[in-house]
Symmetry: C2
Subunit: 151 residues, 2 copies
DNA sequence: GTTATTGCAAACATTTTGCACCAGC
DNA sequence: GCTGGTGCAAAATGTTTGCAATAAC
């Protein structure tokens, strides 16, 4: 058996264990959704997962996919690649800079630092892609939200 | 007059010049939207800009704000901070890695490199934020879309 | 048997579109 | 006057919610 299948088996077993330990039901829907995620390299959307699972599992609903993704994210088993997906945000600053993103209130603050001005992204790293630009996204909690936590 | 106001004046003048050079009408709506963007540090959404402008300009419509933001982006005068905002995308890979994002088809590919494993983000840089995580977002054009361009 | 989860439908939020009117050039 | 831009309303898209039926434990 190839090493990759073994890894997937192991991950599924760990997933089941995690659910039991945290008192979450192990439903076929959850198994299918988590399986779809660990076997995809494409960072699928809820809709992508839904379409893929529906072939094997025609009664599953898109709402279940959304609810499950949220549960898995809260459990720290998966993460959203798109922390600010819900609204488009704009910037008139055309110089290289990076972003601090507050995971609580979605504030965005700019920062710059010499060390990140000209990152080297050699071919071994970026493969065949034509690189246009890059930014560092730092996820954190802004000052105001830290205050709110203490209050 | 403070240096900041001078900068804003200069930017507005350059904006007008850019529009004329490119044959775009210089309308009060466009001026107001661009002005709102260069005077905000908060990376506003279309709705934010709309609310702010409406105070001075009660007849402006949200659709105009959307259309104008798209135009300004195509002109390279502003940029979306959220290249993938239209759909939430998920990832079960819990190790540190970074993303190549195709600006054409929105494919996401992972990459890792030793140089970006443990970025130093000192207090001078991140200020009062509590940092949880970071990723580098590289914007580019994937192999398939480069092929499609040539075809 | 109890509680959490599912699936459906309806609601919601954000963004896009079609089109008549209007304003910039 | 011509062309492109605006504003409205409707549609489209992506996501969330309420709730009754169902399945996990």
């Amino acid at each position: 058996m190839p090493a990759r299948d073994e890894t997937i088996k192991t991950k599924m077993a760990q997933f089941v264990e995690h659910c039991r330990a945290r008192g979450l039901s192990v439903t076929p829907q959850r198994l299918a959704i988590y399986h779809a995620l660990i076997t995809s390299m494409r960072h699928p959307s809820a809709e992508d997962i839904y379409k893929r699972i529906r072939r094997q599992y025609p009664t599953i609903s898109l709402a279940t996919v959304y609810k499950t993704l949220e549960t898995l994210e809260q459990e720290g088993l998966i993460s959203k690649v798109t922390p600010l997906h819900e609204t488009a945000r704009y910037d008139a600053n055309r110089t290289r800079h990076h972003h601090l993103i507050c995971v609580k209130c979605h504030a965005i603050e700019d920062f710059s630092t010499e060390a990140l001005e000209q990152l080297q992204l050699p071919r071994e790293v970026v493969g065949d892609w034509r690189v246009l630009d890059y930014t560092v996204q730092v996820l954190g909690v802004c000052r105001e939200c830290q205050k709110r936590e203490r209050a």
